[in-house]
């Protein structure tokens, strides 16, 4: 069973969101997503300053099996992309919720976070998809 930390929020397209408590959030792909994709060979993260609409495709994770889009979980402005991943895409496989984060975002509306799934709801989604 894949790891679903209880302190994060989730989307149905398998992104996780961490509230940094300073008006920004950190976004990555879940352990389940990296497991499905297999060993990543390329990651493209959005540039700081990019304005994103909710559900807009904004990053790419590519494995030997497939290339997948990553979607913005909330509308907002990109604060920082994880530059480490350009040279070390495997970080997403090894540490999906830690050093393998994709980008930081300043949400337009902080309340949007409440619209995302909590760990229980995401676990339920994974069970349905299994």
């Amino acid at each position: 069973m894949s790891n679903v930390p209880s302190d994060l929020k989730y989307t149905k397209s398998h992104e996780w969101v961490r509230d940094n408590g300073d008006g920004t959030v950190t976004v990555g792909v879940t352990d389940h997503a990296q497991e499905l994709l297999g060993d990543l060979v390329f990651v493209e993260t959005p540039e700081a300053g990019t304005n994103l609409a909710a559900e807009e495709s904004c990053a790419v994770v590519e494995s030997v099996k497939a290339a997948s889009d990553v979607y913005a979980p909330l509308a907002g402005e990109v604060v920082e992309g994880n530059e480490l991943l350009a040279d070390a895409p495997e970080t997403v496989n090894n540490d999906a919720y830690g050093d393998g984060w994709l980008f930081k975002l300043r949400p337009e509306n902080a309340d949007d976070l409440n619209g995302l799934m909590d760990a229980d709801a995401y676990n339920k989604l994974l069970e349905e998809e299994a």
Partner: protein
């Protein structure tokens, strides 16, 4: 071993060298090399042995069953190739005047007519030189159509999520944004999502029917109505034309434009890196926009239609008129098969797929769409094996090589986990299909008793399993003398 590694300084193939010294007279100084190109220096016999050995390592349709789904790796009759190489064809210069090209033009005209007939379209242009260029031509015509009507509000192309990756790429190349339409549980386009997505911004939809999920799109007439009512056009991706050839016509389904992979479906080997031919067919309203040149018949004479005849054409996509050799093979293939033979292509490609599907199900394999009839291909999912035995679709694929079968397509379409997309084609005999079923059953038995063995495959091939991850992360394609590869 690379050809470069056979190289010894000063070794040459004298019999192959040019008689006269070839100079670079007239070439400006700044374009000339400072050093000699690092080419291999080898004898004629070394070259022959090297490439003959390489060719013996090929896993090909001439040696093995090749059920690579979505690729239609069928046998291409030798006659199509030998007839297309008749001196009258290959000695004809592409700039030869029409008066000296009536035979060739007659073949091209008849090919256009036969393709119209078999697809139900109003007109055909043969010039696109590959499937991707055919797609580009198709969507460029959709764009030209809307622009000719002063309709500039249409910015979006709809693409189902089961589509080949080339479809969204084509739409973007033609300046459109892509809206993805989900698939329902039965493998059909999700109608509610489609209706919600359609609007005055819709330029058209790109559909593959049968789809890449190995099922027929059952509500195609309804889809056509939804799109047409909104003022959009329907694009047919001809990737899976083999399944319906001569049986059902895209024109009758309501499609406005279609591309056909003449390599692949009509007797030129597919997957060899080209050349190809992506002829396009159009409905009445797209006739003025066909890429040029097109062949016309006037009385008993044939001639090229060019810009002066088709002033609204999207233009010329290639030098001359496409890949003549591929077009000729398609022409000969269609003449050889005739109308009845065309039907048999569809009959036997779907019969073979359904037989193979039924037999694999009998052996306990899980189908992605168990309630659906297969088209010319179908999907097996090894999700259960991956979970229970830790043996994946890739492991099955590699082990199949040891049994003498080319692997089916793996991990495509992306919608189905651990999938094998299997397309037997119409040219395989029942014995080959039965042999494949036996191999799959044997591998399943191994997966249960000795999963490590399957995970370590292949064992009998010139190379063992590649480290695909390392190959992708540390891409290294350049030969540097003295540095091991």
């Amino acid at each position: 071993m690379l050809i470069f590694e056979h190289s010894r300084e000063g070794r040459r193939a004298a019999a192959q060298a040019p008689l006269e010294k070839v100079g670079a007279k007239g070439l400006p100084e700044r374009f000339r090399r400072r050093q000699r190109a690092p080419l291999p220096e080898v004898s004629e016999m070394q070259v022959v042995r090297h490439y003959t050995r390489l060719s013996q390592k090929n896993f090909s349709i001439d040696t093995q069953f090749y059920p690579l789904g979505s690729c239609t790796m069928k046998y291409n009759p030798r006659a199509c190739n030998s007839l297309a190489m008749l001196p009258g064809f290959i000695d004809r210069h592409p700039l030869a005047p029409e008066t000296h090209s009536q035979g060739f033009l007659a073949c091209m005209f008849e090919l256009q007519e036969m393709l119209k007939d078999v697809t139900g379209m109003k007109g055909v242009s043969l010039t696109p030189m590959a499937g991707a260029q055919g797609e580009f031509a198709g969507v460029a015509m959709i764009r030209a159509y809307h622009e000719s009507r002063g309709d500039s509000s249409r910015t979006e192309i709809l693409v189902p999520d089961a589509a080949h990756g080339t479809n969204p790429a084509t739409a973007v190349m033609c300046g459109y944004t892509v809206k993805e339409i989900p698939t329902d549980r039965q493998g059909d386009v999700d109608m509610d999502a489609l209706k919600a997505a359609v609007g005055p911004q819709t330029a058209g939809i790109m559909l593959t029917n049968p789809s890449t999920l190995g099922v027929f799109e059952r509500r195609i007439k309804e889809i056509a109505k939804v799109i047409h009512d909104a003022g959009g056009l329907l694009y047919y991706d001809g990737a899976n034309l083999n399944a319906i050839l001569g049986k059902v016509r895209p024109g009758d389904m309501g499609f406005d434009v279609i591309h056909m992979n003449l390599h692949k479906t009509f007797s030129t080997p597919h997957g060899g890196g080209g050349p190809g031919a992506g002829a396009v067919g159009v409905s009445e309203r797209l006739m003025p926009f066909r890429p040029i040149p097109v062949v016309a018949k006037e009385g008993e004479r044939y001639r090229w239609l060019k810009k002066a005849d088709l002033s609204q054409s999207i233009g010329q996509l290639s030098a001359f008129a496409g890949n003549a050799g591929v077009l000729l093979r398609a022409y000969i293939y269609m003449r050889m098969l005739g109308r009845d033979g065309m039907h048999r292509v569809a009959d036997f490609s779907t019969l073979n797929a359904n037989y193979l599907m039924a037999r694999l199900r009998e052996k306990g394999f899980d189908l992605a769409f168990p309630e659906r009839r297969a088209t010319h291909e179908f999907i097996v999912t090894l999700k259960r094996q991956a979970k229970e035995q830790g043996v994946t679709a890739m492991d099955f694929a590699k082990r199949l090589l040891d049994f003498g079968f080319h692997a089916p397509t793996t991990y495509f379409p992306l919608l189905v986990p651990e999938c094998l997309l299997i397309e037997p084609t119409e040219t395989e005999a029942k014995e080959a299909l039965d042999g494949f079923v036996d191999a799959m059953a044997a591998i399943q038995a191994e997966a249960e008793s000795d999963p490590e063995k399957v995970r370590g495959a292949p064992y009998t091939q010139p190379n063992r399993r590649f480290d695909e991850v390392r190959a992708a992360r540390e891409l290294d394609l350049r030969y540097v003398p003295g540095v091991a590869g």
